[in-house]
Every structure is written in structure tokens, then in C-alpha cells.
């Protein structure tokens, strides 16, 4: 009797709660707060209880896929379910969380060829992706993060599937034929979940790759790029589909914690391959993550402060005539860029150019400040110089101004 009374009360209270929670129930996932309720942290299940899935993303848009990776990292519980996600993208360049896109990639080339630029959430270096490049992300609970296991798995898949032998070096690269790097790797370790993300070159466009990643000269560390090779050059049976199938089966047949073969029997205990449709309806909260990744502020604006400096020899016709100069006449332009915006501009104008009548420094500096470090800045500069001409009709920059504008152009738009 008491029990049914209690139930009556409980249920009538529940009704109120239902009214409140139903409305707010759109699972407010993935907005920067990890809302996994009451996960007791140290109760990791034994190996037998862990099942594995291979998720195959149906999207080839880099922002969607990065957002999906982020969504899974924030919202899924991987304690009993380890996941390997395979994905590929239309041509794009992905820089690490803390990197500088202007220094790592040829930004003007990217915008010319409409190659997207994205900044991912994990650290590490810059990579070029296209449809000939396979991305693999391994999701596990934080305590079970094991980069070596993941790379060994790939190594075994390459051998079992195609007979390709490889080694893993100290920098956790996968090397074939003793010198060619075929992988890049990055990771993110959170409080409860971790992911390890690597890429494999199967059939990438190497010409576009090297042009997209051409580095700007700075006084920072010179890069030592390793020679790269496409796996399909080593064995023409390797395609993105056959490779993802091979790595997928290797992942499913290997127990979660030990690197030994469990065979078909082990595979039949897993969850297998799944297609994933990364849209807002299937994954509420995904659109917000994707939009954040696509903003200029995130991709470019997140850059730590840096300085670029270039010097340009002034062509003789622009110098004051019939004067001999002791030193070479060079125009030196330096800019500091903070948060992707031009902060400070310093012009070192050689005396030759001053004497021949160039007086534009002040307006140049004022008008560039605060602009984005892109062609936007240059348009502003041109406008600034134009308005200086107070004598009404002449709406053209004179030669010296043109020269200075061209030099700025080079600083911003070429590497």
C-alpha cells in the first residue's frame, strides 16, 4: 500500500519533472562542456568486454569531418567501445592547433586553387589532404591511449593486406623502404577520452602537396621535410578503399589491449563497420562545431604573434637622378601580425627614394594597421595612397607608390 502511494506521489512529481526536462531534453551536447553524467572514472572494463567499431564517414568536407571528430571526442563514452574512424577529404591543408598558417602553408596558392585551410584541435604539424589520402582516428578512453599499438596495427595491416613491409621510427612515423615517410600523426588527450589521428599517403597529388606546403622564409627553424611516397607507387593494389578495409579488419581482429591476432572469431564478437552520416540531425550540436571551425578567426586569427620582414632593392629609375649612392638602396618592410591582423608596420626607406619624392610612409602605416594579413590589407593600402593625391584628377599612383605597393603585395602574397 505504502509502495503504491509512494509511486503515485513519485509519478505525479515525475510529471512536473517531465514537463521541464522534455523541453530541455535536446541533448545539449558538444558545446564545450563535457556533459557525460556521473562517469565513475577508474572503472575500466577488462579486455573481453570491449567491442570495436570502424566508423566510415560519408562526408569529404574537412570541416565536417573535423567537427565529427570533435563531437565524438566530447560526447561518446569509449570505455567499452573503442572506435577507429576512417575518413578522407577534398583537397585541403590542415594545420596544428598552435601553428601559423602563413608560415606553414602557401596561403596565396591555397586561395588561388580554392584549397581549404583548417586548423584542427590537436597539436602537431601541417598536412595536405586530398582524396588520395586516408585519415584514421583512433578513439579510446584516456587511460587506454596507446600510440604504438595503433601504428603497429597499421603496419600489420599493410603486411597482411599487401605484403608491404614497414618500420616505426622513434618519431612515431611509419617508414617504408627505409627512408620514405608514409604517415603523419597527431593526438589529443583529454580528461576522459583521447584520440590519435594519423594520415596515410595512398595516392595523393604530390605536386600540389609540395606547392601547398611551401614554407615562407623566416628566421625560425628551417624545416627538414622527409621524402614522401604514395603507397600506390609501392603496390598498385593499394587504393584508399582497399587500405581502409585492410586496416579496418586488422583493427577488428586484434583484441583491444594486446597486439595479437584474434582471427575471424574475434571479428565476429565486434560491432563491425558502420557508415556515419555527419549531419546535425544525426549528431545534434555538430553544426555549431563545424561553424566554429570555419571562421577566419579560428583558422587564421588564432595565430600567435609573428613578424615578417623583406627587403627589396629599389630599381634605379625610381631613384633621384644623377646622384650616386654609397650603399645599395633597399626598401625594407617589416610587419608584426597578431591574431592574424597587421599590428605594426615599419618601413625603412632608403634615402634615394625619399629624395626622389616618396612621402607616403605615414599613411601607409596608419591604413594597414588592424587589417587582416591578406589582400584585404593591400586594397586598403592602395586606397590610402590614392586619397593622398589632393590634386583632383590624378587618381593614379605614381611610379614610386606603385613600387611600394608592389613590395607590400609581395610581402603578403608570396612566400
Amino acid at each position: 500500500m505504502a509502495q503504491s502511494m509512494m509511486r503515485k506521489i513519485a509519478l505525479s512529481n515525475m510529471f512536473v519533472m517531465v514537463g521541464l526536462t522534455r523541453r530541455a531534453s535536446s541533448r545539449s551536447l558538444a558545446t564545450g562542456k563535457n556533459l557525460m553524467v556521473k562517469k565513475t572514472s577508474n572503472d575500466l572494463p577488462p579486455e573481453e568486454e570491449i567491442t570495436k567499431s570502424v566508423f566510415m564517414s560519408q562526408s569529404t568536407d574537412i570541416y565536417t569531418n573535423l567537427a565529427l571528430e570533435d563531437w565524438m571526442y566530447r560526447n561518446m563514452d569509449f570505455r567499452k567501445h573503442h572506435v577507429m574512424m576512417v575518413w578522407r577529404n577534398e583537397p585541403c591543408v590542415v594545420i596544428g592547433r598552435h601553428q601559423n598558417p602563413w608560415l606553414e602553408a602557401n596561403v596565396p596558392f591555397l586561395s588561388e586553387k580554392e584549397i581549404a585551410l583548417a586548423r584542427r584541435n590537436s597539436g602537431g604539424g601541417t598536412v595536405y589532404h586530398d582524396r588520395g589520402n586516408l585519415n584514421i582516428t583512433f578513439f579510446t578512453p584516456r587511460e587506454r591511449y596507446d600510440r604504438k599499438y595503433n601504428l603497429e596495427l597499421i603496419k600489420r595491416a599493410l603486411f597482411r593486406g599487401f605484403g608491404i613491409k614497414s618500420i616505426i621510427n622513434d618519431r612515431h612515423d611509419i617508414i617504408v623502404r627505409d627512408k620514405y615517410k608514409i604517415s603523419g600523426t597527431a593526438a589529443k588527450l583529454g580528461r576522459t577520452t583521447a584520440y590519435h589521428h594519423c594520415t596515410l599517403l595512398v595516392n595523393a597529388n604530390k605536386a600540389d602537396l609540395s606547392r601547398a606546403l611551401a614554407k615562407r622564409e623566416t628566421n625560425a627553424t628551417p624545416s627538414t621535410p622527409s621524402p614522401v611516397v604514395n603507397l600506390s607507387d609501392l603496390d598498385n593494389r593499394v587504393t584508399v578503399e582497399s587500405l581502409q578495409t585492410a586496416v579496418g579488419y586488422e583493427y577488428l581482429r586484434t583484441p583491444a589491449l594486446q597486439l595479437e591476432d584474434g582471427g575471424e572469431r574475434h571479428i565476429s564478437k565486434q560491432r563491425g563497420f558502420q557508415f556515419i552520416n555527419p549531419t546535425e540531425d544525426w549528431f545534434p550540436g555538430l553544426s555549431e562545431l563545424k561553424n566554429d571551425l570555419q571562421t577566419w578567426d579560428w583558422s587564421f586569427g588564432r595565430t600567435p604573434m609573428f613578424t615578417v620582414s623583406r627587403s627589396f632593392p629599389v630599381p634605379s629609375e625610381l631613384l633621384a637622378p644623377s646622384k650616386v649612392y654609397s650603399a645599395a638602396q633597399e626598401l625594407v618592410i617589416s610587419m608584426t601580425v597578431e591574431k592574424g591582423l597587421i599590428n605594426d608596420v615599419t618601413l625603412n626607406i632608403p634615402p634615394g627614394l625619399v629624395e626622389s619624392g616618396f612621402h607616403g610612409e605615414a599613411s601607409v602605416i596608419t591604413h594597414l594597421k588592424g587589417k587582416r594579413f591578406t589582400s584585404e590589407a593591400l586594397n586598403a593600402l592602395q586606397d590610402a595612397m590614392l586619397t593622398r593625391h589632393t590634386s583632383g584628377d590624378v587618381k593614379k599612383l605614381d611610379e614610386k607608390e606603385q613600387f611600394v605597393a608592389k613590395c607590400f603585395d609581395q610581402v603578403v602574397n608570396t612566400v
Binding site: S4, E241, R271, P284
Partner: protein, 427 residues
């Protein structure tokens, strides 16, 4: 037609009959085992009792989950996932299915297997194709707010399935073992449930007679298979969110002594012509009437409920009793059990006739009318087309409608907002 029974099963049922929810066959329509239909029973008693230990499972009696073999689909066998708003109901299916054969010649039930989704290969003389020796079930798996998957009272579906099998001459089985197999199937195809609350996974276990001979008798071979479909809305409603139903007294869905209370395919085929006719007249579903009194039995593929002010001036929720013409719906039962816990509502199973309905409506005492079923949960009805006239029902005009409260409670239980024994967590 001889009813198939295994001696062991019979003995066990006999020993435990006072505890389990089984329909006892009586000659009279209206006599029932009270336990099954009473809304006062506590939810806990619904689950299978653990009194005597279950008999050793032999193939004659049932298949076993422990014998389940799994063959996962290769990437080239997978179907890409559609947009979540295109899902509809039963248009798309998942990548795997469950299949269990029964061969009397080989001892009975064979080992269950989960295989990549495929077409069936059936002999043209298979009994299911000729005499409708077939039955099915419908239940849903929900992804809850805590990302756990829940099944809603699957044991009730299993009981119902076995009773239908008994009546159809098909082999019976242990419902618990089937639930375990279904759980494994759901675990594999879990990603077919979107991570939001707009969609769920609908499970369709089906049992067909496959023996390829023309004799009208119990098939000695059968197949039990289960397929899953991600679903969103069942059917379109009108702009006010309610449906209009059409009642034709000349059409009969079920009759005394028939199989109206069993979930067999042969109940549904004959309803299509009338439903099309109703659609042409602008109605979404058909109201099934029976007898000279024009009793309301069911609406479309759902059980029917009305809310009205009774003679004592109290608000009352009524539904027709299980008299053999009505499918014992799981949602129907849950509604009766939940509503009888509410103090402001009287709950009663009683025969409702069209005359009574019209009388209550004209006196303004009829408040709501709705259908309830697994596919839709609860659907309000705002209009009844009967004998050339349209009878509007003020369901959508109520300020705190009972149907909405029931729907919210059921959904809250199913999606895990409320902890309740009705919803079984399976992962």
C-alpha cells in the same frame, strides 16, 4: 487444428500458470484471465517470474542465445545512411539481420545467426505465401539521454508472439533467448539510431511457415527473422497535429473466435482497401466497428481511448476491453497501468459504442479521443467521419490534455529521463 506443445513447456506452464501472463482459452469470448488485463497490477509483476528454474533448453523447445553466430558485413555490403529527416517509417533498413530456422526433421530450432542484410530465398510453395501462416511483432529501441539504448517492455512482445505462434501452428520459443539475440543485433547496428530524440530503431521480428507443401496444416519448417528500421514520424497528421478517422459499419476487422487479438499478418492485408477509401475522403485512419451496437474496437493499427466526464462528474479514461477482437497492445497496457496511478483520473475498460460516443459528444462531455500504439506512441483524433457526417472531437482544444500527459510520460520513460522498470537498458 492441433496446438503444438512441448511436454516440457506444458509442465512448466502448468506449474507456474498462476504467475505468468497467459491467455487461457475459454469458449466464452468475454472471459479472461484477470491478471493480464487488470490495470491495477504492479509493473514489476510483468517481468518473467523466477520461481522454478527454467527447463533445459533443447532444440525442440527453443533456440539459445549462446549458440548465436555472427557474421559482420564487409564495407562493400553496407548501406550509406540517409538524412535523418528522410527516414519515414520502414523505408530504410540496417546492415544486419537475425535469422533462425526451425526444422522438425532436424530436431527443431537451429542455431541463431546474425548475418549481413540479404533477401530471403523461399520455395514458391512455402506455406506462408499461400495460407498466411505468418506472424510478426513490433517494438522499439531508444537511444536515451545518457546515450544508453533501452527496450520498452520486450517481454510483453515475446509473450504475445508466442501466443500468436501457438494459434498459427508455428513453433514456440523462449522469449528471453530471442531478446538476447535482438540485443546483440541492436548493439551491432546501433549507429543507425541518430543521437537525437527525433528517431528510434524499430524492431520487426517475424515468424513464417516455410514448409513447401500445399497441405493446410502445421508447417514442419519455419523461419524466425528480425530486421531493424530507423524510423521517425509514422504518418502525416493534419495541421493541428491530430488525425481524422473514418468509420464504416459494413467493414469488419476482427470477429469473435477469430485472430483479432493476435498479431498476425492476415489481420492487416484486408484493411488496405478501406483505408484507401478513407484516404480519398480525407481521413488518415479507419475506425473499426463491430456488431449491431457498432462497438468501437480499434483505430487503424492502434488501440483506441476516449476521455470523458462520466455520470459521477469525474474525468474518465476508457478503452474497449480485451474481448478477443482487440490486440492487447503494449502501449495500451502501459497507459492503463500508468493512468491508474493518477489520482485525478478514473480508468476503466468498457465497451464503447458509436451511439454512446455521439451522445457524450453532443452533451459536451466527450473531451478527448486518441489512438495508442508502438509506432506512434499516442495520436490524437480530432474528427470522426461516420455515415456521411463529420463528427468533430475537441481533443486538441483541451488545456491540459490527458493524451499529451500520457505521451510525455511514456517518452520520458523510453528515453531515460525517468528511471522506470518498463524501460530495459541493454547497453
Amino acid at each position: 487444428m492441433p496446438i503444438r506443445r512441448s511436454k516440457v513447456l506444458v509442465k512448466w506452464i502448468y506449474e507456474n500458470q498462476h504467475k505468468i501472463q497467459a491467455v487461457r482459452y475459454c469458449s466464452s469470448l468475454l472471459r479472461y484471465k484477470e491478471l493480464e488485463e487488470s490495470p491495477q497490477i504492479e509493473p514489476e509483476a510483468v517481468t518473467a517470474p523466477q520461481t522454478t528454474p527454467r527447463p533445459q533448453i533443447t532444440p525442440e523447445f527453443s533456440f539459445k542465445y549462446d549458440d548465436l553466430q555472427v557474421r559482420l558485413a564487409a564495407p562493400y555490403q553496407l548501406q550509406p545512411k540517409p538524412e535523418a529527416n528522410e527516414l519515414g517509417f520502414g523505408k530504410y533498413f540496417t546492415d544486419h539481420m537475425l535469422k533462425i530456422n526451425y526444422f522438425k526433421e532436424l530436431g527443431g530450432w537451429q542455431k541463431p545467426e546474425i548475418i549481413p542484410f540479404e533477401n530471403l530465398s523461399i520455395h514458391p510453395a512455402a506455406k506462408a505465401l499461400h495460407y498466411a501462416i505468418q506472424l510478426f511483432e513490433g517494438l522499439k529501441a531508444y537511444r536515451g539521454v545518457d546515450d544508453k539504448i533501452r527496450l520498452f517492455r520486450p517481454d510483453l512482445n515475446m509473450q504475445r508472439m508466442n501466443l500468436a505462434a501457438q494459434r498459427s501452428g508455428l513453433p514456440m520459443f523462449d522469449g528471453e533467448e530471442l531478446i538476447k539475440c535482438l540485443v546483440r543485433l541492436i548493439q551491432i547496428d546501433q549507429e543507425w539510431v541518430p543521437h537525437s530524440e527525433s528517431s528510434t530503431l524499430y524492431l520487426r521480428p517475424t515468424l513464417i511457415g516455410t514448409e513447401p507443401t500445399f497441405g493446410v496444416m502445421e508447417p514442419d519448417s519455419a523461419m524466425l527473422f528480425a530486421i531493424l528500421s530507423p524510423v521517425s514520424a509514422y504518418y502525416k497528421t493534419r495541421s493541428d497535429g491530430a488525425v481524422s478517422i473514418y468509420a464504416d459499419p459494413n467493414v469488419v476487422r476482427a470477429f469473435p473466435g477469430g485472430v483479432g487479438n493476435k498479431k498476425v499478418g492476415s489481420n492487416y492485408g484486408p484493411t488496405i482497401a478501406v483505408t484507401s477509401r478513407a484516404a480519398k475522403l480525407g481521413h488518415q485512419q479507419v475506425l473499426w466497428l463491430f456488431g449491431p451496437d457498432k462497438e468501437l474496437t480499434e483505430v487503424g493499427a492502434m488501440n483506441i481511448f476516449i476521455v470523458y466526464i462520466n455520470e459521477q462528474g469525474d474525468k474518465q479514461l476508457s478503452t474497449p476491453p480485451l474481448n478477443g477482437l482487440i490486440l492487447p497492445g503494449v502501449t495500451r497496457r502501459s497507459i492503463l497501468e500508468l493512468a491508474s496511478q493518477w489520482e485525478d483520473l478514473t480508468v476503466k475498460e468498457e465497451v464503447i459504442t458509436m451511439e454512446r460516443l455521439i451522445e457524450l459528444n453532443s452533451k459536451g462531455r466527450l473531451l478527448e479521443m486518441f489512438g495508442a500504439g508502438t509506432a506512434v506512441v499516442v495520436t490524437p483524433i480530432s474528427n470522426v467521419g461516420y455515415l456521411e457526417e463529420n463528427i468533430p472531437i475537441p481533443t486538441m482544444k483541451q488545456s491540459q490534455p490527458v493524451f499529451q500527459r500520457l505521451k510525455d510520460t511514456l517518452l520520458a520513460i523510453q528515453y531515460g529521463h525517468i528511471d522506470h522498470p518498463y524501460a530495459k537498458i541493454i547497453s
